[in-house]
């Protein structure tokens, strides 16, 4: 039942690697199971089974899309492993899904690890950026795609070569608390990014806007778009109120406080009084 040549396994790995890049970069969606199924089927000489399995897996992953940056069970490995085992083990497409999902959950945890581990690279990019070194930034952009390619190449190649019975125990042996730890850290990590944004943008007079945005999302479960629109409404009000105050000449020292880090705005407003 298991007669995959090394060449076929290499091709499966190659496709998994390419698809892994496409799922984050390019987004031509050749990484979706509907395409991957057909490709794996063609590589293994069973195009029809591949196409049909790909279609079934596509439906399974129809709702599992990256919303607001949250990673669903990995769709690339789901498509590759699902089709692989459907063809190699003669599983029905729906059973193949059952085999594929645990793999993609494990790979999702690995992706979380990667996205956590890549944070220091962003700081190396800061240094390159401040130096105006665009050449360095250009090649650094390929670090993560390269890691994705190699990682997924291996995760496609090995199962294709060794089959389900060898691979499943390996996946099971990863300690779950470590996966959970990276997942938790990955969830918290945007806080560091927001902290840096606040360091740049924060001014105590704008604090009410931060608080309002937070309350709207935390308590009222509002989407970001209506929050931004509401803030825009208040900002517009603030703008016109300041215009009126300026034209009426009142307000005394209460001139418009300018955006952050401007020192010489008095001159701009003095001629309005």
């Amino acid at each position: 039942m298991h007669d995959v040549t090394i060449w076929q396994a290499l091709l499966v790995g190659l496709w998994a690697g390419i698809a892994a890049i496409d799922q984050f970069n390019g987004l031509t969606h050749i990484h979706r199971p509907i395409v991957t199924g057909a490709v794996i089927g063609i590589i293994l000489g069973q195009p029809t089974t591949g196409i049909i399995t790909g279609g079934t897996l596509e439906l399974v992953w129809a709702g599992m899309v990256p919303l607001a940056g949250a990673q669903p069970p990995n769709v690339v490995i789901g498509g590759v492993i699902g089709t692989l085992f459907a063809i190699l083990s003669g599983l029905s497409p729906t059973t193949a899904v059952g085999v594929a999902v645990p793999f993609s959950v494990a790979v999702q945890a690995l992706i979380t690890l990667l996205f956590t581990g890549m944070a220091p690279v962003a700081h190396a990019m800061d240094v390159a950026g401040l130096n105006g070194d665009t050449k360095r930034l250009d090649w650094m952009a390929w670090i993560e795609p390269a890691i994705l390619f190699v990682g997924f190449f291996i995760m496609g190649f090995l199962p294709a070569l060794f089959g389900q019975n060898v691979i499943t125990p390996v996946v099971k042996s990863i300690p779950r608390w470590i996966l959970g730890g990276f997942q938790a850290a990955g969830g918290i990590m945007p806080a560091v990014g927001f902290g840096m944004l606040l360091k740049i943008m924060w001014k105590i007079e704008y604090a009410p806007f931060f608080v309002a945005g937070f309350i709207a999302a935390a308590y009222l479960h509002m989407e970001i778009l209506p929050i931004a629109l509401l803030a825009a409404a208040f900002a517009a009000y603030d703008y016109f109120a300041n215009q009126n105050r300026k034209s009426s000449g009142g307000g005394g020292g209460q001139t418009v406080p300018a955006g952050p880090t401007t020192d010489d705005d008095e001159e701009d407003y003095s001629n309005g009084i």
Binding site: Q183, G195, M196, W202, G213, A217
Partner: protein, 295 residues
């Protein structure tokens, strides 16, 4: 250009100035540059990480334009550093913001205004994009493809790819031009009102960051060992205590912890280390959830 190489320490001590060493406005961006940046925008998530998300890829895609605009090496450095900060939006709508921002950079708008507009736009477009593409375009084109695939028809995947990418690439190119023209047109008005617009953009930007703090930062004790006993009473730390005080309390507290540490001059790398430690220790003692059992 024999200025000495900047290091991590320099980055931490850098205050990005609001104005430029070379404030001369030159119209240098051509249609070809815009298209180059569209192709580069395909790498928007190339350096994706949980701290900055698309910040690296966003900057990568702007590089051809920024290089041409900021011929002064210092200006280029500050612009790159500014753009490398946290960024996240929808990859199919990003070129619209790119177009606007590159028009603003070309006109040497104040850095705080550019930053404010960038942050104010990214969140809303991200939300729209999720609904429009992941929850509408993908299911529709996928559904059409699958209906053929189910019969073993190779045109299933092919049709899916054609339909999906026709919309995808049309949007990327059209939105870039549209964004750039919008930006250029809007700038005439903005010129006279730089201060006011910077103020408004910062207000909206901070409201968005406040909203993102509540919805993006996932900091909840959902593990199996998250119950404390108070006398005879057993309380769930997350649902029984923290959520009762305030929803998203941990995220906002941690964001301000980070802000405070950064203000004190601590390196963001330290914060990443601390965050990792919290995750691993928390998971080990069962405060954070573990992934499902692999069968």
């Amino acid at each position: 250009m024999a200025s000495e190489e900047k290091t991590f320490k320099d980055v931490e001590q850098t205050q990005i100035p609001d104005t430029y060493q070379d404030p001369t406005v030159r119209k240098v961006i051509t249609e070809k540059d815009l298209h180059k940046m569209v192709w580069r925008s395909l790498m928007l998530q190339s350096s994706f990480n949980y701290e900055r998300m698309q910040g690296g890829g966003w900057t990568y895609s702007l590089i051809p334009g920024l290089k041409k605009i900021h011929t002064n090496q210092k200006d280029l450095g500050y612009s790159l550093l500014d753009n490398l900060q946290f960024y996240n939006t929808h990859p199919f709508l990003v070129t619209f913001i790119q177009g606007i921002i590159i028009a603003m950079e070309e006109n040497k708008e104040n850095r705080s205004t550019i930053r404010g507009i960038k942050v104010a736009l990214m969140g809303p477009l991200g939300g729209i994009g999720d609904a429009l593409f992941w929850l509408t375009l993908l299911p529709i084109t996928g559904g059409i493809g699958v209906s053929l695939s189910e019969q073993g028809n190779i045109f299933g995947p092919i049709l899916f790819l054609i339909l999906f990418n026709a919309v995808h690439f049309f949007l990327l190119f059209w939105l870039m031009d549209y964004g750039y023209n919008t930006g250029t047109r809007a700038i005439a008005t903005m010129r006279e009102k730089t201060q006011e617009i910077s103020r408004a953009a910062t207000m909206i930007g901070l409201a968005v960051v406040g909203g993102l703090t509540a919805s993006y930062v996932k900091f909840a004790f959902t593990g199996t060992n998250n119950v404390v006993a108070i006398g005879k009473m057993k309380m769930n730390i997350q649902t029984g205590i923290i959520d009762k005080i305030m929803p998203a309390l941990m995220p906002v507290a941690y964001v301000f912890f980070c802000y405070w540490m950064l203000k004190k001059g601590r390196s963001p790398l330290t914060l990443i280390g601390i965050t990792l430690l919290i995750g691993l220790v928390g998971a080990a003692v069962g405060l954070f959830a573990w992934p499902a059992v692999i069968k």
